[in-house]
Structure formats: structure tokens, C-alpha cells
């Protein structure tokens, strides 16, 4: 299973498939075909291509201003695309009015109607659809039970805690049985403990209902823990789409590697490339890594080797780099040992050691050799020559 690279130069367009197969692919889920959005001279979204399977939990991950919220607003219909097409459940959304799209949205600030009680808020979408009063009552009660807020129907939004408001917003979006659920940074206003609990709960509800979900966040740990797949975005482009594990372990570019999780960077030089394997020379050794990410890079060029702190070990004997233990950062379940390594970018390598014995085993000032498996390292052409 290889990660799918999204690149406008090699469009993942359905042009190659037969029209019939194409239509079938559009039956369920969400399909974003070359969607572009400009604000004046600035392009907020460059030709985005993305397919989201029915029932999938897809996260749009990226720093602020990367275009993730723009894409969400385009799907919801709050913005109009300047190019491209969006399909939801086989229906062309770009020609559908936003109130006709059957998309549930949970807003960052929840946007619960302050002049309506909880039951009226949750029932709003049903009333707009002309559903009968008795059915509304039943479905509202079901939705409130789903988010564990039975009996809160009469309360006003301002009488609820942040977490409870969040649940009401979720119930209100789900009660209309939307084809897609869109969540815009829904946890950013919650404190850390509550956020963790709500993440688990949202994931469980999503799995139980099997609703296709698009989740927007800038929090990489949230993205890694909740998603079926993640689309990492930056500067209006989708940089990589893949499972959390692919994104974390096999990033396709330096941006993805450094945005998702902590990373150590070791500068080196590409020695040669044979087929799928590239040999890279670093300070004290050479290692063979995957050549996937080095396409078009000539031997002799400067490359950067990216290694996660949890992939680095303190070696008993010879290692790939060596340095002096500078400091220990105790994190409970693990200790981050910061090692001064002259050959590393920034002069430091972080080694994540499970357990708590690291500070007695390798006190500050100890000379250590560091080692890692070539399979855990990813090489990219260096942008610093």
C-alpha cells in the first residue's frame, strides 16, 4: 500500500477510467475534482484532487492559512469554487444550493442558536425539511441520546458547558442524516482532558453511524489519533494523502515530515541510486534508504535525512552519528534525551527512550553513539546547499 501523491502535474483524474466506472465511483462518498479557489490575487486552493470513500474519516491537516477551511467551506457551499467540481454521494454539489446539500456542519464556535433551547436547536434541520412534529420529537430524542444529553432538551445553549454545547452541535448536524459530516476544528475551544474524551466519543459515534466525515484541524496528534486517512495541506495545496501511519512514517516531502510529529534532520550526500534504493552518506557512515522520495536527484547532491525521535536508539557499539548528552526531558511514559550532535541540523538530535531510566543510564555529558534502522529514515533533496 503506497501513499497516493497528489500532484496537479500527474492528475489523479478519472480521465483514464470508463465513464460507467466513473459514475459508479461517484455513487458514494465525496469526490473533489480539481477544485480551485481564489480570493482576489491570492489563490487559497490550487486545484485540489481528493476522493473520500463512503463512511471514511478524512482529516484535512495543516497550519493556518493552508486552505483546509477554504476546502471545507467549498464543500459546505459557503464559498463558490472558481474551478473544478465537488461530488457528494454522486450529486454535483457545485450546482446545488448550500441549503440543499444535505451536509452536516459542526462549527468551531458551535454556532448554536442562542434564542432556541437544545431541542429546538437539534430539531431545526428537521423543521426546515417539513418533518412532522411527532417524528421530530422522536429523532431529536434519539440524537440527544446518541450524544449522551438525554433530558437536556429544555436547556438554553448558554446554560451548557463547552463540552455539552459541542455535543448539541454534533447532534444537530447528525439528526438530518447528512451525506457528509464536516467538522471545523471542533475541539479547539475545549481544555485538554475534555478534548481527549470528546475525540474518542466522536470517533465512536462516527464509526457507529458510518457517516462520511471530513475533519479540519491543525493539531497533528488529533489527526493521527482519529483519522482513517489524512490529507496534509500547506499553502493551498494538498501535499500528501495517506493513512496516519503512512503520513507519520513515510512522509513524501520535508513539509509533511516536519509538520506531523517531531523529527531529527541529518544532512548528507546522495552517493548513488540503484533501482528502489538510494545510498546516502552522512557524517560517520552510509546507509541505504528508499529512493522514492529522491526522484530526479543526481548523485552528489545534498540530501537531508529525516528520522523520528522514537526511531533513534542509543547504540552499545558503533553508530551512525555520535554526540554528547545535553539534557533529559522527562515525559512520564518516556524520556526525550537531547544529544548535541555537531553533524545534525540545529546541532541536536532528540532520542525518545521508553521508560524512565535514561537519565541514570546516560547522564549529562556522556559520549553516546546513535543508531537507527535505514527503514525508519526518509531522505529528501536538501533545500539548504
Amino acid at each position: 500500500m503506497s501513499a497516493e501523491r497528489i500532484d496537479p502535474r500527474e492528475p489523479v483524474s478519472p480521465a483514464v477510467s470508463a465513464p460507467a466506472a466513473d459514475a459508479a465511483a461517484r455513487v458514494a462518498g465525496v469526490q473533489i475534482d480539481g477544485v480551485t479557489k481564489r480570493f482576489g490575487d491570492a489563490t487559497a486552493l490550487h486545484e485540489a484532487w481528493l476522493k473520500i470513500a463512503d463512511g471514511e474519516f478524512m482529516t484535512l491537516l495543516g497550519p493556518s492559512g493552508c486552505g483546509k477551511t477554504t476546502l471545507l467551506n467549498l464543500i459546505a457551499g459557503f464559498l463558490e469554487a472558481d474551478g473544478g467540481e465537488i461530488f457528494v454521494g454522486g450529486r454535483l454539489m457545485t450546482e446545488t444550493a448550500p441549503y440543499d446539500r444535505e451536509i452536516g456542519v459542526v462549527f468551531q464556535n458551535y454556532a448554536l442558536f442562542p434564542h432556541m433551547n437544545v431541542a429546538k436547536n437539534v430539531g431545526y434541520g428537521l423543521r426546515m425539511r417539513g418533518v412532522g412534529k411527532r417524528e421530530i420529537d422522536t429523532r431529536v430524542a434519539e440524537a440527544l441520546a446518541l450524544v449522551k444529553l438525554d433530558g437536556f432538551g429544555e436547556r438554553k445553549p448558554r446554560q451548557l458547558s463547552g463540552g455539552q454545547q459541542q455535543r448539541v452541535a454534533l447532534a444537530r448536524a447528525l439528526v438530518i442524516r447528512p451525506k457528509v459530516l464536516l467538522l471545523d476544528e471542533p475541539f479547539s475551544a475545549l481544555d485538554k482532558n475534555l478534548r481527549g474524551a470528546m475525540q474518542v466519543e466522536l470517533k465512536e459515534i462516527q464509526r457507529r453511524l458510518g457517516v462520511t466525515t471530513i475533519f479540519v484541524t491543525h493539531d497533528q496528534s488529533e489527526a493521527l489519533s482519529m483519522s482513517d486517512r489524512i490529507a496534509v495541506m500547506s499553502q493551498g495545496r494538498i501535499r500528501q494523502v495517506g493513512t496516519p501511519d503512512e503520513i507519520y512514517r513515510r512522509p513524501l516531502d520535508p513539509f509533511v515530515a516536519s509538520f506531523v510529529g517531531d523529527v531529527n534532520v541529518l544532512p548528507g550526500r546522495l552517493e548513488r541510486r540503484i533501482g528502489e534504493t538510494a545510498t546516502v552518506l552522512i557524517a560517520e557512515g552510509r546507509l541505504s534508504v528508499s529512493a522514492d522520495t529522491l526522484e530526479g536527484i543526481a548523485p552528489g547532491a545534498a540530501v537531508d535525512l529525516f528520522v523520528r525521535p522514537d526511531a533513534v536508539r542509543i547504540a552499545e557499539g558503533e553508530g551512525l552519528v555520535s554526540g554528547t548528552v545535553a539534557t533529559h526531558v522527562y515525559q512520564g511514559s518516556h524520556v526525550d534525551v537531547l544529544v548535541d550532535v555537531a553533524a545534525a541540523r540545529g546541532g541536536r538530535v532528540t532520542v525518545r527512550v521508553p521508560g524512565h531510566g535514561a537519565s541514570t543510564r546516560w547522564p549529562v555529558g556522556t559520549r553516546v553513539s546513535l543508531d537507527f534502522s535505514p527503514a525508519d529514515a526518509v531522505a529528501f533533496a536538501s533545500d539548504v546547499s
Binding site: P98, A111, F113, P114, Y124, G125, R158, A173, I176
Partner: protein
């Protein structure tokens, strides 16, 4: 040590002005309880007669007419101002925004007399409307608009519009647009979203705007005086007639005091009406 050494200095002018206007109000208040001595500018002894005189049908009629004109003006102004305020708050087009702001708010700086005079030009028997209608052959004889309630209300709406637009814009700009987006995503078309979400959430602004417009109109003098021309009586014009044509200061004072009390009563009622609505806005 005093943290605000210049506070007394800064507050002094306002304090002087407040004392002066409080003294004037007190003078009016005591005049209202003094007897009218015909032929003299000085009032007589203490009495409640002035207030009993207000109950006579002639004056009670003016009270009712004033309240009616003020209510009508406030409601018509609301209907005219709401779309303007909505467009002003919601448009992203800078040119349109400036245009709306200028049309809606500049009348505020023209002064009541100038604005009212412009309406005389528009409403008069040989004025703009009548000459256009005549020119089009729609009427033979001019429609009487000057010296009518219609004319007074029309001009008062124009005079009151800027205040209402400003108050409604303030209320509308505080409504988070995500509410409308949420309504839309839940299946509400633009009209339904407006009626079920935006309009109810703007109600505090509507009540505040209507009550301010009411008080604003209640105290208007130049407009009813110039357009009404003595044929449309309001409390303010009556006070003027009694005070400066008949020199019945005590009765004019009683009329003023009652008018002021009525205005306070209306504002207090509006405040009560707003109370449950304000909680809505708080989130």
C-alpha cells in the same frame, strides 16, 4: 496617591453642563405646579390645576396624536432602516458600503431645519412630487401633503432614519455569521434563515431602535412645526404655542413635564421588553 490627577479637571465642564440642565429642569418642574396669572410673566401660587387642564379633550387629543405620530414614525423608520442596516453590515463591496453609509448617516449632520425644509420643497403643492405627477398627467389638482399627518410623518422618518440605521447596524454586526451558515447547512433557504435566526437575534437592536426613534420623534419640534404648520399638533409645538404665543409658562411646563414622563415610561417599557431578548444575544 491619586491615580488620575486630571480627572476633576476633565469632568468639570460636563458637571457644569449637567448642573445647568438639572437647574433648568427643576425650574420647569416648579413652574408646572404654579398658577397662571393672565397678563403676567410671573406665576402665582402652588396649584395642580395645570395638570387637571391636560385632561381636557383638546389637550388629551394632542397627546394621543403625538403618541400615534411617534409610533407610526418609529415603525416606518424601522421598516426603511432595517434593509439599509442589513446591507451596510453585510456587503463586502466597499463602494456600496460607503454609498449606504453616506445616504443613511449624513442627514444626521444636516440639522433638522435644513432637512425639513428640503421636504417642504418635495411635498409642497407646487413641489417635486406634485409637479411630477401633474407633468405625467396623473393628477389635475395637487395632492395636499403639506400640513398633513402624512407629510409630518414622512419628514420625521427621514429625520429619524440615521439614528435607527446606526442602532440596527450595531445590533446586526454583533450577530455571528456562523448562525446563518449553520441555518443554511441545516436546510434553511435565505428567507427562512433570516426569519428564524437573524431577525430574532436582532430583536434587542430593533426594540432599542424603535424606542430611541420614539423618544427622538417625541421631542422633534422643527419638523412638525414647519410641515404641520399649526394644523398637525404635537406636544412640542403645543408647548411652543402656549409658552411663546399665550405666555402661559406654567401650563407649558406642565405639558413638558408630562411629555417627559411619558417618554421615560415608554423607554422603561422598552427596557423591560429588551431584558429577555438581551440574554439571547449573550453567548
Amino acid at each position: 496617591m491619586n491615580k488620575r490627577p486630571f480627572l476633576a479637571l476633565f469632568v468639570a465642564p460636563a458637571t457644569l453642563a449637567a448642573i445647568a440642565s438639572a437647574a433648568a429642569l427643576a425650574a420647569i418642574l416648579q413652574y408646572a405646579f404654579r398658577a397662571y396669572v393672565p397678563g403676567s410673566l410671573n406665576p402665582g401660587g402652588l396649584t395642580l390645576d395645570n395638570f387637571f387642564a391636560l385632561l381636557r379633550p383638546l389637550y388629551a387629543q394632542v397627546f394621543i396624536q403625538t403618541v400615534w405620530i411617534c409610533l407610526l414614525t418609529a415603525l416606518i423608520t424601522l421598516v426603511v432602516a432595517y434593509p439599509l442596516a442589513y446591507a451596510l453590515v453585510r456587503t463586502r463591496n466597499v463602494t456600496l458600503k460607503s454609498f449606504l453609509l453616506i445616504t443613511a448617516v449624513t442627514p444626521l449632520f444636516l440639522g433638522e431645519v435644513v432637512r425639513t425644509y428640503s421636504w417642504i420643497i418635495v411635498l409642497g403643492n407646487t413641489g417635486f412630487i406634485n409637479s411630477v405627477l401633474k407633468g405625467l398627467g396623473l393628477i389635475d389638482r395637487p395632492i395636499q401633503m403639506m400640513f398633513t399627518t402624512f407629510g409630518v410623518v414622512t419628514a420625521l422618518v427621514h429625520v429619524t432614519l440615521p439614528v435607527m440605521v446606526i442602532m440596527l447596524s450595531a445590533a446586526l454586526s454583533h450577530i455571528d455569521r456562523d448562525y446563518e451558515k449553520a441555518a443554511t447547512s441545516l436546510g434553511a433557504g435565505p428567507v427562512k434563515a433570516f426569519l428564524t435566526v437573524t431577525l430574532p437575534l436582532s430583536m434587542p437592536g430593533v426594540v432599542a431602535g424603535v424606542s430611541t426613534a420614539f423618544a427622538w420623534t417625541f421631542s422633534a419640534f422643527a419638523t412638525p412645526q414647519m410641515i404641520g404648520g399649526g394644523k398637525v399638533s404635537m406636544i412640542s409645538t403645543l408647548v411652543y404655542q402656549l409658552g411663546f404665543a399665550s405666555f402661559n409658562f406654567p401650563f407649558a411646563a406642565a405639558l413638558s413635564v408630562t411629555g417627559l414622563a411619558l417618554t421615560f415610561a415608554v423607554l422603561a417599557m422598552a427596557k423591560q421588553a429588551i431584558k429577555p431578548l438581551e440574554k439571547i444575544g449573550a453567548h
